[in-house]
Amino acid sequence: MIGGLFIYNHKGEVLISRVYRDDIGRNAVDAFRVNVIHARQQVRSPVTNIARTSFFHVKRSNIWLAAVTKQNVNATMVFEFLYKMCDVMAAYFGKISEENVKNNFVLIYELLDEILDFGYPQNSETGALKTFITQQGIKSQSKEEQAQITSQVTGQIGWRREGIKYRRNELFLDVLESVNLLMSPQGQVLSAHVSGRVVMKSYLSGMPECKFGMNDKIVIDKQNKGGSSEEGGKSGKQSIAIDDCTFHQCVRLSKFDSERSISFIPPDGDYELMRYRTTKDIILPFRVIPLVREVGRTKLEVKVVIKSNFKSSLLAQKIEVRIPTPLNTSGVQLICMKGKAKYKASENAIVWKIKRMAGMKESQISAEIELLPTNDKKWARPPISMNFEVPFAPSGLKVRYLKVFEPKLNYSDHDVIKWVRYIGRSGIYETRC
């Protein structure tokens, strides 16, 4: 179990230090600073073992969060906790920065007391936490409310309190995906996968029961086999194969295991319903075609063409192509048809930005790079990377339905206003050149 949790700033000064178990000494704080933050070689592994003590760390902007233990704990559990901790902190005071951490000193200790007990993770649901840990200090509560807190903390449904009422029952559903790609210069896909999240925001009264349906291949195949085969081949094409997925704690896993249906009582407000990953039949929104020609020892000509590969009615946004330049670049001339391009010396790359681009279009940039002759160290030619945002899910995921039942209160599925949005972003989207 987690023995202690430390938060450092970028210089390695300790901002927060909370020790949960006696086996973690005071010197553990320094050990991590000396061996990881101030290490001569940058430490890449998120898990570091120093003197039989394990340190698990994550870095958020310039802040280091480190969990410490002397026991053999489940490392993924610890990281899941650290991420959750980041989410909770972000929900309370926004961006995690040194300034914010210092300003919310008391609050963080209060949170740490609540979400970890003797090193065991407890309830880390932001919504639930907000009911009894408030930034303004604890308001005096009525007997009723206090009783409700007790029943909620100890009860079965820890993530939702009873008696919520909205005049308008509304529900927002976002499918957020990030698509990762590595492509050879000839256009061969070397590796590609999509990791996606279904994020919801619900404002529903009472204790509603929800059911979420998507074009999961297994479900659709089962339906086709079981009943009518009216949709036939069409649905087979439309369905997607999910490699693996994880759910929010509100989802009834037993039901998912037996019927593969996703049913849950949603928390109030923001939450992440599920995470998933797919590797098959990915729609690659952009294709990058690089052309690099070395002219003698002092010149390099680069031409990059990007092609958008989706419905022409859709618009991609925030497109950024990053073309790495050799380390001995002494000057760059750029010509591009669309957008703006700039040589950024501090990053050793040409950055080409396009605000908007419709589907089935193409655009190109050509660059002339002057080089300073140096002793013949070959340039490693790092891949060209790309960033973008598209209004569809590159995995092909579609939301088929989201039904809401509330037997006690008298509103039905039709009364709920539902909003669905798809956003596909680039993860590590690289093409070798």
């Binding site: 940058q42 310039n62 380390l327 001995n328 002494s330 010396a345 501090s346 002057e370 160290k377």
Partner: protein, 927 residues
């Protein structure tokens, strides 16, 4: 040095550095640096002419970036351009960049050398200094090649400034350390010596360092330095401190120079001239007197400087080893330090006393401090000081105080630091043996030692006990009784093994006592049998079979033990074999045969103690002395302390005996039986072909072996102590060889490897008529006699063929020729005059005496043929250096043909006896 004016401060650089310092994170820093690098690259692009100031600024920035740990691969050219500037700051930055960043194999080195050459010739002292500093800082071979001949002339030129002389001396020192072969000796050396008389103390200090270093290379050239340095030393020592102004350090007059002069004097034997000698003695006395004076300052620097001179003076006194009064005074002075507050002083005092103890004059004086030393051993907090105390006790031990010292060391052993326990154990074991008057005391001590130190006792210690017990009848009974007594306790395995052995041999001597009847003895040994390691158990089994012989009454008990499954079916082959064989032997052999087979062991031949060898091996020759001391001592071997000299002579003269001692463990009882079998199981030793061996002494390529199946050709190349042999195996038949394998074995497996041989594997199949190649890499670790053997085996038409070929790897292959003048040659020839360094052989010519052929042979042998060196033109003279990994041995050879008698006289002089002998043998076979 011109002051840096305000205007020269580089604002851009300052801004850049402060930017980097203000970076919040590593990433930000890298971004800033990338930006700056891109900026500098665009500035250096070449189409713009930069002024000196901006060039300097950008080179400075690059240097700063490099020192932050980033790679810099441009800007070298601009730095080289800065060298030609005539502004001091620009030149300085250029040199700084070059000495930090330019590596020796850069293609710019010629340009740099040119710049340096210009500066050296410029007569501007500041520029000359910069250039000299750069040469010294880079200190590469290329630099040495380019400038080693020029610097001496700068050093001794009359009109050179003092500061330049100082730099030149230090630069030359550095080059001499890096590549001694490139610094030419010549007439300038005599003038360097006179720098000791220079007015400027800085020059003198630098020159002293240089001379000390050069004197180790050719002591004769600098003999005159002795008189000068004595004079200089006495002037410093007797001067009032204020006379030297800048060179007075915390009221001590020129401490660094004094120390260096004393070091220089240590390179030479005591001066012959009586006046000089008395002057030196006077100096040393003054230094000793000064140590007694009350300190002029409480500052630690004052006492440090004073003590530094004192310790150097004491080591000179010890080295001379001829002035009893001085030695005793030094000893008393050190005695005072033994109780000093300062740990470092106590350490140094103990260390110096170790060497003092070996001098006959001061041995007694050292002995008076025994109580202090023992006290130090007990109370000292620093382990390294305790270690020195142990060393000193070891050094001061003699027959009169052996018992006390051994007892103290034993009692210290219990609390000693783990790192030094093994050494202490060895020392106790040696002292106990060396000074034992009464062998019962010896046996007690050693058994006690083994009991206490347990794991730190090496095999040699108990082997040695057994050797001694077996060789001395009078202690056998006592030893048996003692091991029996201590055997009752829970004891370390060495004691168990030792006990098993001794009881097996001499158990009968104590069997009369009912408390130690045979059965009791046996039970004692067997009680912890299962806890012992395999070798110990094997030894105990041998002891049991000996018991069967000694005490027939317990034969059945022992046979039962041998018969048990845990023995007869033991997983360990050795134990199983012993159990089976001993059981059979005891049941079928008659008592007579048993008595003969299992007779008491004959006395061991007297040899040098294997423990001593082990201790030496552990320490290495003079292992605790710094390098310079080592070299210094070698220069005048005559003054070496008597014991050391004796020890090292023994070490080099009988390199094998010690090891033989170790590697043939005394428990040879079992080998009576085992050896018979092991001989049979070994493949019959194959005959090694060496007919062509001697032909390869003077050449590197050719055919070494040929029969109707196989032809083996060689191509070899050698460089310093490394060699590579390409072996070509040619299949002369039309059918293929299969299972072809070849490996290189060394003939003497007992000794530590003198050659490091590494062979690549070859293709197991050689087609008919085809040839394959194998590469063998050889590293010469130390001088050697026996050549490695190439073992080849393959199947040809179903029969296994085995061929052994002696590889022509001889000592002379690691020869590097050295050219020298006649004067040099005879000077060195005389230096190698010690009788064991020369080997001479007179032999009859086997081939016609042709001058040209002989010349070719000497060159082929590897030595440089020196023409016009010998006054007699018919004689041949050669010189060279044998490179081994550990040492380099200089060799001089002289071959005097006598055409009338058809005889040759070959004389070889090298600094090592074994080398001389081997080379002489090799070469004499060639004519």
């Amino acid at each position: 040095m011109p002051a840096v004016s305000k205007g020269d401060g580089m604002r851009g650089l300052a801004v850049f550095i402060s930017d980097i310092r203000n970076c919040k994170s590593k990433e930000a820093e890298i971004k800033r640096i990338n930006k700056e690098l891109a900026n500098i690259r665009s500035k250096f692009k070449g189409d713009k002419a930069l002024d000196g100031y901006s060039k300097k600024k950008y080179v400075c920035k690059l240097l700063f970036i490099f020192l932050l740990g980033h790679d810099i691969d441009f800007g070298h050219m601009e730095a080289v351009n800065l060298l030609s500037s005539n502004k001091y700051t620009e030149k300085q930055i250029g040199y700084l960049f070059i000495s930090v960043l330019v590596n020796s194999n850069s293609d710019l080195i010629r340009l740099i050398n040119n710049g340096i050459k210009n500066d050296l010739a410029s007569r501007n002292p500041t520029f000359m200094n910069l250039a000299l500093h750069c040469i010294a800082n880079v200190g590469s071979r290329e630099m040495a090649e380019a400038f080693a001949s020029q610097i001496p002339s700068i050093l001794v030129a009359g009109d050179t400034m003092d500061s330049v002389k100082q730099s030149a001396a230090l630069c030359l020192l550095r080059l001499n350390r890096m590549c001694p072969d490139l610094v030419p000796m010549g007439e300038w050396t005599a003038r360097v010596v006179h720098l000791l008389n220079d007015q400027h103390l800085g020059v003198v200090t630098a020159a002293t360092s240089l001379i000390t270093n050069l004197a180790q290379k050719s002591p004769d050239d600098f003999k005159t330095a002795v008189a000068l340095s004595v004079a200089r030393l006495s002037r410093i020592v007797t001067s009032a401190a204020i006379d030297l102004q800048d060179y007075t350090y915390y009221f001590v007059a020129a401490p660094w120079l004094s120390v260096k002069l004393l070091r220089l004097l240590q390179c030479y034997p005591p001066p012959e001239d009586a006046a000089l000698r008395s002057r030196l003695t006077e100096c040393l006395e003054t230094i000793l007197n000064k140590a007694q004076e009350p300190p002029k300052s409480k500052k630690v620097q004052h006492s440090n400087a004073k003590n530094a001179i004192l310790f150097e003076a004491i080591s000179l006194i010890i080295l001379y080893d001829s002035e009893p009064t001085l030695l005793v005074r030094a000893c008393n002075q050190l005695g005072q330090f033994l109780q000093h507050r300062e740990t470092n002083l106590r350490y140094l005092a103990l260390e110096s006393m170790c060497t003092l103890a070996s001098s006959e004059f001061s041995h007694e004086a050292v002995k008076t401090h025994i109580d202090t030393v023992i006290n130090a051993l007990k109370t000292e907090r620093d382990v390294s000081v305790r270690q020195r105390a142990v060393d000193l006790l070891y050094a001061m031990c003699d027959r009169s105080n052996a018992k006390q010292i051994v007892a103290e060391m034993l009692s210290y052993l219990e609390t000693a630091d783990y790192s030094i326990r093994e050494e202490i154990v060895l020392k106790v074991a040696i002292l106990a043996e060396k000074y034992a008057v009464d062998y019962t005391w010896y046996v007690d001590t050693i058994l006690n030692l083994i009991r206490m130190a347990g794991d730190h006792v090496s095999e040699e210690v108990w082997y040695r006990v057994i050797q001694i017990v077996i060789n001395r009848d009078e202690v056998q009974g006592y030893a048996a009784k003692t091991v029996f007594e201590v055997g009752r306790k829970l004891i370390p395995y060495q004691l168990k093994a030792c006990g098993g052995y001794i009881l097996g041999e001499f158990g009968n001597l104590i069997a009369g006592d009912s408390r130690s009847s045979p059965l009791v003895q046996f039970n004692l040994l067997h009680s912890k049998f299962h806890l012992c390691s395999v070798p110990t158990r094997a030894l105990l089994l041998s002891a049991y079979i000996k018991f069967i012989n000694l005490f027939p009454e317990i034969k059945t008990t022992i046979q039962d033990v041998l018969r048990s499954d845990s023995q007869l079916r033991n997983a360990d082959v050795e134990l199983q074999q012993r159990a089976v064989e001993y059981l059979r032997l005891s049941s079928i052999a008659s008592t007579d045969i048993l008595a003969t087979v299992l007779e008491e062991m004959p006395p061991f031949p007297e040899r040098e103690s294997s423990i001593l060898a082990k201790l030496k091996k552990k320490k290495g020759p003079g292992g605790h002395l710094p390098d310079i001391d080592d070299a210094r001592r070698n220069v005048n071997g005559s003054t070496e302390s008597s014991e050391n000299a004796e020890a090292s002579k023994k070490g080099s003269a009988h390199p094998f005996t010690d090891l033989l001692n170790v590697s043939s463990p005394p428990p040879a009882t079992n080998s009576l039986l085992v050896d018979v079998f092991s001989d049979i199981s070994k493949p019959a030793a194959l005959e090694v072909c060496e007919e062509n061996f001697s032909r390869f002494v003077c050449k590197n390529n050719g055919v070494i072996y040929e029969d109707q199946l196989l032809q083996i050709g060689l191509k070899s190349e050698y460089r310093q102590n490394l060699g590579r042999i390409y072996v070509f195996y040619g299949n002369k038949t039309s059918t293929q060889f299969v299972c072809f394998s070849s490996s290189v074995t060394s003939q003497d497996t007992l000794t530590p490897p003198q050659l490091n041989v590494h062979s690549k594997t070859v293709d197991p199949v050689i087609e008919g008529g085809a040839q394959v190649q194998q590469i063998i890499n050889i590293e010469c670790l130390s001088d050697f006699t026996d050549a490695p053997v190439l073992d080849i085996s393959f199947r040809y038409g179903g029969t296994l063929q085995n061929i052994g070929v002696k590889l022509p790897v001889m000592l002379n292959k690691f020869f590097q020729p050295t050219e020298m003048t006649s004067q040099d040659f005879f000077q060195r020839w005389k230096q190698l005059g010690a009788p064991q360094q020369e080997v001479q052989k007179i032999f009859k010519a086997q081939h016609p005496m042709d001058t040209e052929v002989t010349k070719a042979k000497i060159i082929g042998f590897g030595a440089a043929l020196l023409e016009g060196v010998d006054p007699n033109p018919t004689n041949f003279v050669g010189a060279g250096v044998i490179h081994t990994k550990s040492t380099q041995v200089g060799c001089l050879l002289r071959l005097e043909p006598n055409p009338q008698a058809e005889m040759y006289r070959l004389t070889l002089r090298t600094s090592r006896e074994s080398v001389s002998q081997r080379l002489c043998d090799l070469l004499s076979e060639q004519f």
